[in-house]
């Protein structure tokens, strides 16, 4: 559903412009506030809605198939690691949902690969990737190969 921006809430900070994957949230030069310049290239991905600190961006279903009178609102909180949704139907019915978005403090559990012990020649010449073989099965077993799995490659129609 294409996004739109409430005039009284937007302060023109540009977070939505910065995040939009489709490059369609732009600042209106006259009002100095954001708006959707190309609704038919909007995937309703909600990236801008989630990024807006003023909750100024909302979504109205695509005019060619969605009637008016609904809303799907969202609040994503990185510190809490949750996302909360409120779905309001045209007939007034409401549904609420809450999901986790991460299990770890943001960005803290990704190793710096420039600083881990680098690969030796044997590993470079093998088919292994970083953290393998351990991370494949979380044990000491090796990588699957045609030989280890009793397979051959044969040209043609029949398997």
């Amino acid at each position: 559903m294409p996004t739109f921006v409430y005039m009284t809430r937007c302060d023109g900070c540009g977070h939505c412009v910065d995040i939009c994957p489709s490059d369609i949230m732009h600042i209106d030069p006259k009002y100095r506030r954001a708006y959707n310049i190309e609704p038919d290239m909007c995937w309703e991905c909600y990236s801008c809605v989630k990024a807006c600190p003023q909750f100024a961006i909302d979504v109205r279903g695509y005019a060619d198939f969605a009637p008016l009178g609904h809303s799907v609102r969202v609040r994503r909180e990185e510190e809490k690691g949750t996302i909360a949704w409120k779905v309001k139907f045209r007939d007034g019915t409401e549904k609420e949902f809450l999901s986790p978005i991460t299990t770890k403090p943001w960005g803290t559990c990704i190793p710096e690969l420039a600083e881990v012990p680098g690969p030796d020649k044997e590993m470079r010449d093998s088919q292994l990737l970083y953290s393998e073989p351990k991370y494949i099965r979380m044990d000491e077993d090796g990588l699957h190969t045609l030989q280890s799995n009793g397979l051959t490659m044969k040209k043609g129609v029949y398997y």
Partner: protein, 633 residues
């Protein structure tokens, strides 16, 4: 021209496109090249870019060898039957044997993966799918890419690859335009990993207005993976293998969790099961090797996705629509109802908005399904893409030329949608392919294969002129007319996109012709595409945003041309339900059990088509997952 030229020199690994494939490439490259210069050029913002921008509710490719679930060869067999026999089994096996290590890392990084409370194993949606709370899947993965890369350039639309002027057929980097500043960016690099996207919006969509944005695949997936590589002269494979999706109507919400986890099922407008009625006639078209409902029932061998589409399309055309997804039973269970809604909110929010807008509560009403317009990509149930080398220890000679995931241009690698013949990689497999490509790219540099690259100033200058041409065109002819968008001297990108979509729809098997085409239609299509290419020289862009759309259109057009060439070449109907060759309505294994390979000569624009052999992994027993067999021994 007031725009600056920004040159980034001496790059070892340039990653074009920061989606799942590109993030995997950037992340892994740092391990194999701890002192190398690694750069990512991303069209949007890497925190929310690519097909996973709005999140995913499942990881659709996970073997689970750790839990004794599947071996890599089991997944190869699954992808092979789903794609009617034609896949690159070496690449698939290679991806599948590494993909679990990718997923286990994601869990370490904080991606919430649901668990089976009894066994502690990941909660399965289906045999290959695990369920996640993936709203932040992309930002989490982007963190990893940012940790590894020297620099991420956001908002760079990469338009062309740079070629070495010293040695034929060797890559030398890429160029593009910053869609915010307008600056011209030159990336001189020893290797390039193309991890850009497949193509939405090259066939006319079912929606007629704003809803055109509610594509199944992201509207920003502009076929750049293909446009960039084809223009550089790389060989492509299986480009005819476009995909049509059976999805919830209008919102194109996913059905995987509904079928697999919620156990919902489909029926026709009369409330009847319809699929099996179409199987006898379909079996005559495709042969028992590809459709054997009894065997499928006994062994859990899937019915190929395209064939299930065929049943849906045929039933609707027979006048017994609409097709419904029967949700009313499952949704009485509050837990399953929650899963059904969160599935959409986690990956296709628009479907939730649509149901709210139309008061469709699947607890009280069975929602409608439809088949989408076709899409061209290489990581879902379809395998279009570049013709890439496989790994040394698996690939037969026809599939191996030195470096894993290297294309037929030296130093050009691919991941995700860019690699052909590797369907069912999905998000985790695309990330894994990026990792494989990154390791190989670092090895290529270490082996001295990139020594002595020369990029002439002339090449850089010519590309610059070409990139800004739509802005110049607009400036030159804008005042020929009073106002508005109708000019005798130019077309805007949106007008060009409409033309592309209409002609692909009508001549190459789109939705308004029930996915039907034939040799005559395809030849007319090619003629129109050729004329359109002349008009693309007259594209006008009134600002930088339109310049971005202009280059997206050019990449889409090149993709469409290649798709049409391949569709013309393969004289059979290999994937009924994806498209039909009306003049060859059967699967023809005798002549076409091969992979199609094309190359467009960058100098002449002529295509050369060839058949490449299809190799299969062979072992005896298909009835039981290999991992379980092994565990018993």
């Amino acid at each position: 021209m007031a725009y600056k030229t920004v040159v980034e020199d001496d790059i070892d690994v340039l990653v074009v496109g920061g989606g799942l494939g590109g993030s995997g490439a950037a992340w892994e490259a740092r391990f194999w090249g701890q002192d190398k210069k690694i750069i990512v050029a991303e069209k949007a913002n890497i925190d929310r870019s690519g097909a996973v921008a709005q999140g995913l509710y499942a990881i659709n490719c996970y073997m689970g060898t750790r839990w004794g679930e599947n071996n890599p060869e089991d997944h190869v067999r699954y992808a092979r039957i789903d794609l009617m026999g034609l896949v690159r089994e070496d690449l698939l096996f290679d991806m599948a044997r590494h993909v679990d290590s990718t997923v286990h890392q994601f869990e370490d990084w904080g991606l919430p993966i649901m668990k089976n409370p009894e066994t502690g194993a990941y909660l399965r949606e289906g045999r290959w799918q695990i369920m996640i709370h993936g709203e932040s899947y992309k930002p989490i993965v982007a963190e990893a890419a940012k940790k590894s890369a020297d620099k991420i350039y956001n908002r760079i639309c990469v338009t062309h690859l740079l070629m070495d002027d010293a040695k034929d057929n060797r890559i030398a980097g890429a160029v593009g335009v910053n869609v915010r500043t307008g600056d011209y960016h030159v990336f001189k690099s020893k290797t390039v990993i193309v991890a850009a996207g497949g193509a939405s919006n090259i066939f006319k969509p079912r929606s007629v207005g704003e809803g055109a944005g509610r594509t199944w695949y992201a509207p920003w997936s502009s076929g750049s993976a293909y446009g960039l590589m084809i223009d550089a002269g790389a060989k492509m494979t299986q480009m005819e293998n476009r995909i049509v999706l059976a999805r919830f109507k209008d919102g194109y919400g996913p059905v995987g969790a509904y079928f697999l986890h919620l156990k919902t099922y489909t029926q026709n407008g009369l409330g009847e099961e319809y699929e099996s009625n179409w199987f006898p006639s379909l079996q005559k078209m495709v042969g028992k090797e590809y459709l054997d409902p009894e065997l499928s029932h006994l062994t859990h061998r899937p019915i190929p996705t395209c064939l299930r589409n065929h049943a849906l399309i045929s039933e609707v055309n027979a006048g017994r629509g609409p097709i419904h997804m029967v949700t009313m039973h499952a949704f009485q269970d509050p837990h399953l109802e929650e899963v059904g809604w969160e599935n959409f909110l986690g990956m296709t929010i628009g479907q939730a908005v649509l149901w709210a807008a139309t008061d469709v509560d699947p607890k009280n009403e069975n929602p409608e399904l439809t088949t989408s317009e076709p899409y061209v990509m290489g990581s879902h149930a379809t395998g279009a893409g570049g013709w890439a080398s496989g790994p040394e220890d698996v690939s037969p000679p026809e599939y191996f030329w030195g470096y894993n995931r290297m294309m037929t241009i030296d130093g050009l690698f691919g991941a995700g949608d860019a690699v052909g013949g590797t369907p069912h990689a999905f998000s985790s497999g695309s990330f894994t392919e990026g990792r494989l490509a990154a390791k190989a790219a670092c090895k290529y540099v270490d082996d001295g294969k990139a020594d002595g690259i020369v990029v002439s100033e002339e090449q850089i200058e010519n590309r610059k002129i070409e990139i800004y041409k739509p802005l110049e065109r607009y400036k030159k002819y804008r005042n020929e007319i009073v106002a508005g968008t109708v000019s005798p001297s130019y077309i805007h990108p949106k007008q060009g996109l409409d033309r592309l979509q209409k002609l692909m729809d009508e001549y190459c098997g789109g939705v308004t012709v029930s996915y039907m085409t034939n040799e005559k239609l395809l030849n007319i299509g090619l003629k129109k595409l050729k004329i359109m290419e002349e008009d693309l020289e007259c594209l006008a862009a009134k600002d930088l945003h339109e310049l971005l759309r202009a280059w997206e259109l050019k990449h889409r057009h090149r993709t469409a041309e290649c798709v049409t060439q391949h569709t013309l070449f393969r004289k059979e109907t290999r994937w009924p339900g994806y498209y039909y060759r009306g003049d060859a309505m059967k699967v023809d294994d005798e002549n076409w059990h091969v992979l199609t390979v094309s190359r467009r000569d960058p100098a002449t624009g002529e295509y050369t088509m060839e058949k490449a052999p299809c190799y299969h992994l062979v072992d005896g027993d298909e009835e039981e997952p290999g991992a379980k067999k092994a565990a018993k021994v």
